[in-house]
């Protein structure tokens, strides 16, 4: 047991401890997760609106989107969207003139869009289900009051669907934090798993540092679960 003090000192915040770098990694992980989750909300809203739209071609596009994304491994999709997203932006910029040819697409934006695109497919299904759970009478009542479609979305559909969507959305948030660990594979992020990888291969204390990495993710999960419980209590306050 005499190795434990030295192992713990490896996680210290001093000059040769890895503690500070793990905190930096945690910040990167949280930034990517939050941004990717926000993007997935946008994709989810667009996807759900498309799936429920009266236009057949919109429904087909949304169906292809959710089917493809949910049938492909996240790692493969991340690599595909990450690289093609950067290329697509470069391609679009090339129309603006030659000045933009050397533009480097921000890896953060590319990774966030890639992860958000993946999460958005699952979000689409959650939101579609939630919108369909809203009693038709409420929407009819809003129409009868003379609300415009946009006002109906803002005043009735969005607030009412939140209650039904919340369990699925919380699950997807937990998935977003875990899926963000995949960005360590891309090589341009110093996220928590990348830090763990570096610390482990530098010091050769593999099991210790990967346990620490897992612990960081576990803390994120536990804090999120506590937060989710508070939000759920708030959203369901009218139904006690």
């Amino acid at each position: 047991m005499d190795t434990s003090p030295s192992l713990l000192s490896l996680m210290s915040f001093g000059h040769d401890g890895w503690g500070a770098r793990f905190v930096d990694g945690l910040v990167v992980t949280m930034e990517v997760s939050l941004a990717a989750y926000a993007v997935s909300l946008i994709f989810g809203l667009l996807g759900a609106s498309a799936k429920l739209s009266p236009y057949r071609w919109l429904r087909s596009i949304a169906d292809v989107y959710t089917t493809l994304v949910r049938a492909l491994p996240e790692l493969l999709l991340l690599l595909l969207v990450y690289y093609s997203g950067a290329d697509a932006i470069k391609f679009l910029l090339s129309f603006l003139g030659d000045d933009y040819e050397d533009v480097e697409v921000d890896p953060f934006a590319a990774a966030v869009i890639a992860l958000g695109f993946i999460g958005g497919a699952y979000m689409t299904e959650v939101m579609r289900g939630a919108i369909q759970s809203i009693p038709v009478g409420q929407i009819e009542a809003a129409k009868a009051c003379g609300m415009s479609p946009l006002l109906r979305v803002r005043r009735i559909i969005l607030p009412q669907m939140l209650r039904f969507a919340l369990p699925g959305m919380s699950n997807l948030w937990l998935n977003a934090t875990k899926d963000s660990s995949l960005i360590s594979v891309l090589g341009s992020f110093q996220d928590i798993l990348f830090m763990g990888y570096r610390a482990a291969s530098t010091t050769k204390h593999y099991s210790f540092f990967y346990t620490m990495t897992a612990l960081c993710f576990l803390i994120v999960t536990l804090v999120s679960m506590a937060g989710i419980r508070l939000i759920e209590a708030r959203v369901n306050r009218g139904y006690k």
């Binding site: 049938a71 999709l77 360590s184 593999y206």
Partner: protein, 236 residues
């Protein structure tokens, strides 16, 4: 574009050759993981805190941390401990040289956590009367479990379990990061050899989609088979 398509078609045989490895990873992890899920679920339902607390902690650990971190922990962590231990002298060592069995180990433990939680819900949803009836026949607790609780629970949670199996198939792509040459690993290998980014990924993607589609069909078939008695009666 034409040349790109030719290349895409030319790499299909190599990627298809990796399909059995991906399927083996999925099948072995699925069998071991689901078998381990039974004791996890049973312990989780036990009133004894010495049983349900470790089980709840296990489920939390498996579901609360990324599978990739678990895989690294097992691959590199065991790689640190095993050499020099007695394992090196046993026949097991031959199998532990490449990443395959480490991946199976990680995926099985992870599946046990997720399926354990699903199975727990299903087991507590088995109608009380059926278990009471089995007890009234004088069946021992293990016989009740084997003949009534488990089969009924599996019937109830089969859709969730097949969803979990599809997720497992997709998750096996993470094995490519610990030197297993599955579909994803082969695609990344081709990427490095040919300096082409998209074609290997797209070809691998097509293969994954077809595999997932076939597996979904097979699982649906199994579901219908197992829940046959609940299907709508056939018209004469």
């Amino acid at each position: 574009m034409d040349e790109s398509l030719t290349f895409l078609l030319s790499i299909f045989p190599r990627l298809l050759a990796a399909v059995p490895l991906t399927l083996a990873l999925t099948a072995i992890s699925c069998v071991i993981g689901n078998a381990l899920a039974v004791p996890v679920a049973l312990a989780r339902l036990s009133p004894n805190p010495l049983l349900w607390m470790p089980s709840a902690l296990y489920i939390l650990l498996m579901r609360g941390t990324p599978l990739l971190v678990q895989t690294y922990l097992i691959y590199y962590g065991l790689g640190e401990v095993l050499p020099g231990s007695f394992i090196q002298q046993t026949f097991l060592w031959e199998y532990l040289k490449d990443g395959f069995w480490y991946a199976v180990f990680a995926f099985s433990l992870n599946t046990a956590g997720y399926t354990g939680e699903i199975l727990r819900g299903a087991m507590s949803a088995v109608p009380r009367g059926e278990i009471e009836a089995a007890k009234a026949y004088g069946m021992s607790p293990w016989l009740v479990l084997w003949r009534v609780t488990l089969p009924r629970a599996v019937q109830i949670c089969l859709p969730a379990m097949s969803g979990e199996t599809i997720l497992l198939l997709k998750a096996t792509s993470l094995a490519s990061l610990i030197t297993v040459w599955d579909i994803m690993g082969t695609a990344r290998q081709i990427q490095k050899e040919s300096y082409r980014i998209y074609e290997p990924l797209i070809a691998a993607g097509i293969i994954y989609i077809i595999t997932v589609f076939i597996l979904t069909r097979l699982l649906n078939l199994l579901e219908r088979r197992i829940n046959q008695h609940r299907a709508a009666p056939q018209s004469a």
